[in-house]
């Protein structure tokens, strides 16, 4: 535990906890609209921003926020048009993003370890200024996702109904896209571009195995994200493993534990309660 007396470890822990809480709060909307992997795509695009920032000697995180936001808006435009070629357009954006990032980082005079820090995260090198950025943006994401839950739920659940309700559907979709870009870039320092999606999606996947409603799923996913971040950093500090990977592995471990427990619970309940076969609906036509 004495490792956590060092300020850099404290910053690592606080940063991870904020991201662990904010990422699933956004991720639940992405999962609900079947865009679970969008964070991954936006992460790829953000890498180009990192490369551009390093090349231009500007803050890589700041440039990454801008580039990732543009990428996320582009993806949202492709999605809302609903074209069949959307799939391919997304692929172009993803691989263009990561190739551009690798190339630009190579052109700048930073070392390959610098690229690794963004690909897989580098929690222990978070500066006090970085932590402030993570805290402010993370809190903004969290407040928006919770305060606008009824509207964001309606848009993600049934977009046409939301339109007939007079909701600003396009604005809310853009809000989710921009929030994705911001979450990806602040989580980039913690778990890295290649592992960000896991923190947005895996806690939601874990929670929804045992929950009955949207609100309870969101709460449980945030708690699970917090747990994965805290325990992951703790494991990393004690076993000297990569923090980003440890956080993601803790999230996946909780998924497996909950999945097994929920499965066992269902089997047990089926044995103890008499088989409750749902009553078939009556025929709608007269059979002769």
């Amino acid at each position: 535990m004495e490792l956590f007396q060092y300020p850099y470890m404290q910053r690592a822990l606080i940063g991870a906890l904020i991201i662990g809480l904010a990422a699933p709060a956004l991720g639940i909307y992405l999962v609900q609209r079947r865009l679970a992997l969008i964070g991954d795509g936006v992460g790829h695009v953000a890498l180009t921003g990192v490369g551009a920032g390093l090349l231009l000697n500007r803050s890589p995180v700041l440039v990454a926020v801008i580039v990732a936001t543009l990428g996320a808006i582009g993806i949202e435009l492709v999605r809302s048009r609903g074209r069949t070629s959307g799939d391919l357009a997304l692929a172009l954006l993803f691989y263009g993003g990561i190739a551009g990032g690798v190339m630009l980082v190579g052109l700048s005079d930073s070392t390959s370890s610098n690229l690794n820090a963004y690909l897989f995260g580098s929690l222990t090198t978070i500066s006090p200024a970085d932590l402030t950025t993570i805290a402010v943006l993370g809190a903004a994401i969290l407040v928006t996702m919770i305060a606008l839950r009824p509207a964001l739920f309606a848009v993600s659940h049934d977009e046409e109904y939301a339109r007939v309700s007079g909701l600003p559907v396009r604005t809310l979709n853009m809000l989710i896209a921009v929030a994705t870009a911001v979450t990806v870039t602040i989580a980039m320092r913690a778990v890295g571009v290649l592992l960000i999606s896991a923190l947005m999606v895996v806690p939601v996947a874990t929670a929804q195995q045992v929950t009955r409603g949207f609100r309870s799923t969101m709460t449980a996913a945030m708690a699970l994200g917090l747990f994965a971040a805290g325990s992951g950093v703790w494991v990393a500090a004690n076993a000297d493993t990569a923090p980003g990977a440890s956080v993601v592995l803790m999230a996946i471990a909780s998924f497996l534990v909950v999945a097994l427990a929920a499965g066992a619970w269902r089997v047990l309940r089926r044995r103890t309660t008499p088989t409750a076969v749902p009553a078939p609906e009556p025929h709608e036509v007269v059979l002769r």
Binding site: Q32, A151, F153, S156, E160, V164, G166, L167, Q208, E281
Partner: protein, 253 residues
């Protein structure tokens, strides 16, 4: 003359250049219950979706509550019931959470729900007979109960106009009855209804006027057409409306 609720003038809709509706005119006044009938692919669903602005018009105009659709903002006056609940990405949602979405138009999306919203959701759940399932995930409900959830969502907003797209398609008899009851109550309180249907079933007594869509145009506007041929037999309650110029074999097979 009662005030007009829906007015469509020379409405036309096309998908990718293929016309689905051509020159459709329709007028629904307050308190009317209008059924839009027609065969599959006749354009009846497209007509109600165009009325709500879910598909763009390629010609003509739609007016809701005396206001052109483009400038219509009073969506709390409209309740929409789609054909079915979207599957979503698998995130569970309770019946109550889905029905509560129906309050957004009236409350505004920036304001958190209050006591009035909860009371309206309770009332809507009771109206469709789902009060005891409020806390259950919608995915565990039968098709008919899911359809009732969607009707409760529309009713929760206390609309003046209900627009329903095939609300009873593939719905069990118990749910059809519950649904007809909720609709009768809504109409008795002065509500206006536009509904797309393939079969009317227990809704038939509630309908005040029927419109038959055929090949993108309206070919009948008036009383509910009588079923014909073997469709008229007592144990068959499908309404397959005919158009005068329609080849008879379409229906007689």
């Amino acid at each position: 003359m009662k005030p007009p609720v829906i007015t469509v003038e020379h409405g036309a809709v096309g998908y990718d250049g293929r016309p689905v509706l051509r020159d459709v005119s329709l007028r629904v006044t307050a308190g009317e219950v209008v059924a839009v009938l027609g065969a599959n692919g006749s354009g009846k669903s497209t007509l109600v979706r165009a009325v709500l602005g879910l598909v763009p018009l390629t010609g003509g105009s739609v007016t809701l509550f005396d206001r052109p659709l483009r400038r219509f903002r009073q969506w709390e006056r409209v309740g929409y019931v789609p054909q079915r609940l979207g599957a979503g990405g698998g995130v569970p949602a309770t019946v109550r959470e889905v029905v509560a979405s129906g309050r957004l138009a009236r409350r505004g999306f920036l304001r958190p729900p209050g006591a009035a919203d909860r009371a309206a959701v309770d009332l809507a759940l009771r109206a469709v007979g789902l009060a005891d399932r409020a806390g259950d995930p919608v995915a565990t409900l039968s098709g008919g109960q899911q359809q009732r959830t969607l009707i409760a969502r529309a009713l929760a907003g206390r609309p003046e106009l209900l627009v329903l797209d095939e609300p009873t398609a593939g719905v069990d008899a118990a749910s059809q009855e519950a649904f007809a009851g909720a609709l009768r109550e809504f109409v008795a309180d002065g509500g206006t209804v536009l509904l797309v249907a393939h079969e009317l079933g227990p809704l038939r007594p509630v309908i005040s006027r029927a419109i038959v869509v055929h090949e993108g145009g309206i070919c009948h506007d008036g009383s509910v057409p009588e079923p014909a041929g073997h469709h008229a037999e007592p144990d068959h309650d499908h309404v397959h409306p005919h158009c005068p110029d329609e080849p008879a074999r379409l229906w007689s097979i």
